[in-house]
Symmetry: C2
Subunit: 536 residues, 2 copies
């Protein structure tokens, strides 16, 4: 039991959160949209607090931003200040940040500017690029509570390895972002910082567990973001918030210094990866990190540099419209049909992808999330006495206490399933699978219960990238399918949750999945597909 009530324990974190906001950059009371205004995505443009240059900077890709700084057109200080200002508005409207690191960020920007002034050179490929980072990724000397009240005294002894490598390349970390209790929700609420909401529709979830990152990138509070993903935690936020996100193959990106309950669980590996506002920024992030050979410090990593892959449309895309368990909502179905038609018209080989027993895959991955029956997470929750949230209970119920031998048996099943899925892709000649990220465009707050559209690629350990379709929920085109007869209770639950008016303005995203270790090829193919869709 806790020594003090949990409500006391969180005060320091809340105070850090509040006090780290620069009040000068807040929207004045008369500029704050009313609670009824759900879509706040354009507030930065309409509020008048950001200059035209600040708007331009925050809507520029990381890659282009670095070019501007390298050319001396923008300074790092200007860039970071622009993002800090926009992020402050984001915080007011979305509650996405756990902590701003304004002082450190501006000090580093000044250093970079001084370096550039003296040498005429940038320090690395991410010179001056502001990056937001999920709270449980260690930042030296700062609290890392990982969404648990019991851990509010936990200070990270050093930066996570990924953070170090990005800093080496010139990146600036200016804001840390929110995550759900236990980190096992596709939603974003905890007892310390409360609930983060979606910039496109504040009644909707930003996704999770990297929900603060989804909101951050969706609202353009950062040029790049860092999330983690064991069941969809990078991808759901990227999709829900209209940004980009990448789940790499496990053991490619350095994970050291991420603070997560249940360390040593290796049957399903949590991965770390980028969120962004373009596919080329994902490549920039990945190449910057892997060019530094992180495997020479984190020895479990695979020594595979990030390859340059020339995009070509000589590939076959399988369209997975429905996983056979839960039928996606109408906007998702429309988005996939749109892609199928446009790609075919552009000469890309498109086939239907019949899912390979996703229910079998889910029954393997589900118990592997908590093979100790969730005892580890429950004991941390009990330590502080904080209330267990409904979605935490929901996730912990996936598990039961397994014996070591039962865990082995699931590992064997997992390997067989991976081999079977890979063989199916080869047999059918499919290089990439284009599929939903979630049953719908975004979940209502507190409701993302269905993980299979993302988690299936975690058990398969296949790289998956999220990118926006450019389409949004349309009240006319995306009506309820009144004649649909749900196949099972889960399908019924998710079917009944849909009505177009609940999801006004929400963006429609795609998930593109490649084969194991074909990370570079997957991003390259997504670029080709996005290019074709943009031209259509």
């Amino acid at each position: 039991m806790a020594n003090q009530p949990w409500q006391e324990a969180i005060k320091e974190c809340q105070s850090i959160q509040e006090n780290s906001v620069n009040k000068e950059w807040l929207l004045p009371a008369d500029k704050i949209p009313s609670a009824e205004q759900l879509n706040v995505i354009d507030v930065p443009k309409t509020c008048g607090l950001l200059t035209a240059k600040e708007l331009e900077i925050t809507e520029t890709s990381a890659g282009d931003m670095v070019k501007k700084m390298a050319a001396g057109e923008w300074t790092a200080t200007e860039v970071v200040t622009s993002f800090l200002k926009r992020a402050t508005i984001g915080q007011q409207l979305l509650n996405f940040a756990t902590e701003f690191m304004t002082e450190d960020a501006l000090a580093r920007a000044a250093e970079l500017d001084a370096h550039f002034k003296t040498t005429g050179k940038i320090v690395g490929p991410l010179h001056g690029v502001p990056i937001s980072v999920k709270e449980h990724v260690g930042i030296k000397g700062r609290i890392c509570h990982t969404g648990y009240v019991a851990w509010v005294k936990n200070i990270a002894p050093e930066d996570a390895l990924l953070v170090k490598l990005l800093k080496n390349a010139g990146a600036i970390f200016h804001v840390r972002t929110n995550e759900p209790q236990s980190l096992m929700h596709l939603d974003c609420t905890n007892n310390i910082h409360g609930t983060t909401v979606n910039p496109w529709n504040r009644k909707l979830s930003p996704g999770g567990s990297s929900g603060g990152e989804g909101a951050s990138l969706g609202f353009k509070c950062a040029a790049l973001g860092i999330g983690t993903d064991i069941g969809g935690s990078i991808r759901a936020p990227a999709a829900f918030c209209g940004s980009y996100g990448f789940r790499p193959t496990a053991l490619r990106n350095p994970y050291k210094g991420v603070i997560l309950a249940g360390d040593g669980q290796e049957s399903i590996k949590c991965v770390i990866g980028p969120l962004s506002n373009s596919l080329s920024d994902i490549e920039l992030f990945q190449s910057t990190v892997l060019d530094q050979e992180p495997w020479d410090e984190e020895t479990s990593l695979v020594p595979l540099p990030w390859k340059e892959v020339t995009p070509t449309k000589e590939f076959t895309v399988g369209i997975l419209r429905d996983d056979g368990i839960v039928r996606p909502h109408p906007p998702i179905t429309r988005g996939l049909e749109h892609a199928a038609q446009v790609l075919k018209a552009a000469g890309v080989k498109v086939v239907e992808w019949e899912p390979v027993d996703h229910s079998v895959g889910w029954e393997i991955v589900k118990p592997l999330y908590f093979p100790d029956g969730g005892a580890c997470q429950r004991s941390i929750l009990e330590e502080s006495g904080e209330p267990i949230m409904p979605l935490t209970e929901w996730a912990l119920d996936y598990g039961r206490q397994l014996t070591v031998a039962e865990n082995w048996d699931l590992n064997v099943q997992r390997e067989e399933y991976r081999a079977r899925y890979h063989a199916a892709m080869k047999e059918r000649g499919v290089d990439f699978i284009l599929c939903p990220t979630y049953v719908g465009v975004a979940a209502e707050l507190g409701t993302p219960h269905y993980w299979v559209y993302t988690a299936i690629w975690n058990i398969l350990d296949q790289p998956a990238v999220i990118f926006p379709s450019g389409l949004h929920v349309d009240q006319e085109l995306d009506k309820i399918e009144t004649d649909y007869k749900p196949r099972n209770d889960v399908d019924k639950r998710e079917y009944e949750r849909y009505a177009p008016e609940k999801f006004v303005d929400a963006p429609i995203a795609y998930q593109l999945v490649g084969k194991h270790y074909k990370d570079e090829e997957t991003i390259a193919a997504a670029k080709v597909i996005e290019e074709i869709l943009k031209k259509a």
Copy 2:
């Protein structure tokens, strides 16, 4: 419980073993060395049963053998017949084989010869190369009992993936080899086929668990061999028998189709790799396998092709003379001192390697071998009612039933230990570690209890290659150190086991260890070292 006495169950396997021997190739009674003749390594040369050409063939490296066949100088049939004849003598003297596959081998040789006759070309880089293979590596349609009486009805449904790839390259599998009960001895005896002995001294163990392979390569019954290694099972046999053996980094060589109790245990991975009679044959084996991209079938493998590495002597070797737990016997110490002096004289940078807490490493790996407390192995042994052998009990005692969370904790410790060892190598500027393979040159039968000199590299997952020093136990030079005071009970046990007269003629081997994933560099460095030693 078994339906029939275990002594009945094994009869079919024994009959296969006996009947598969071509009686025409056996040594006649008057040529069989007496039981007192311990060293039988020269019998093939002295017995008169092999022609000069057959002797030449069986003493040629796989690489050179292929060149001869490619030039039309030797036929595959000649090559395979030569090895079958030599292996038959080996079987008489060493009991290393569980089964000859003479008919299949000769049929395949005839096919290869026909192909060469028609096309003038060899089928691949291992055209006509005879390979012996450890019994638990699946061969389609043949019994795979893995050293357990309970499994004598287990028929492999297909060839192991590694076997398939080697066959694709032209290799011929002519003999399957013995292994110990449970596969967890550094020795080679089971209740089905009995005991395999060492060709240099038949009172000594050939090592284990790939002991049949050690004997096979030591006696030159095959040009290449396949073993498996989770604690030293490729390396101890290679060292004890004076041949070469390679434990690659895990997840490089294809493991699919190896039949082992406890599948799904992933904390310490069993690896498969070659035994040979030269370092260049190890490279040939590895490149042949990895050039076929086995990761496109076995999806857990890392997609790293075998790199060509140019040997250079620009590296630093750390000499590990003593692991701080058990002091090696005098011949091992002499061998390492010899290498240190010769290498220094040749201008190689040699430093002393102070071991990084090998006792800590052993305490992590030991419980991970049997995190179910050995329940899996015990239940298989109970199923047939076969007697449990003392070395099986010894190994199973390493384990206790762990919870999943205890297993996680050991995984975390393992990762920390790996990172610490790697950091020490970097800090001290050491590229490779030259060290003992075992406390002594070989163990007496039934006595290999001390695994740490090999197992430490399993927990560290570092590549390790065994090669002979060219030296052998010398009754004058390798006297007992009478003034040595053992540091602990284990040290005392091993110290008291040594006397030069027990190990007459046994070869002295080296183990060279590289960094994680530096497999190619490790073999290349071993080649440089061997070349220098040969010239000295």
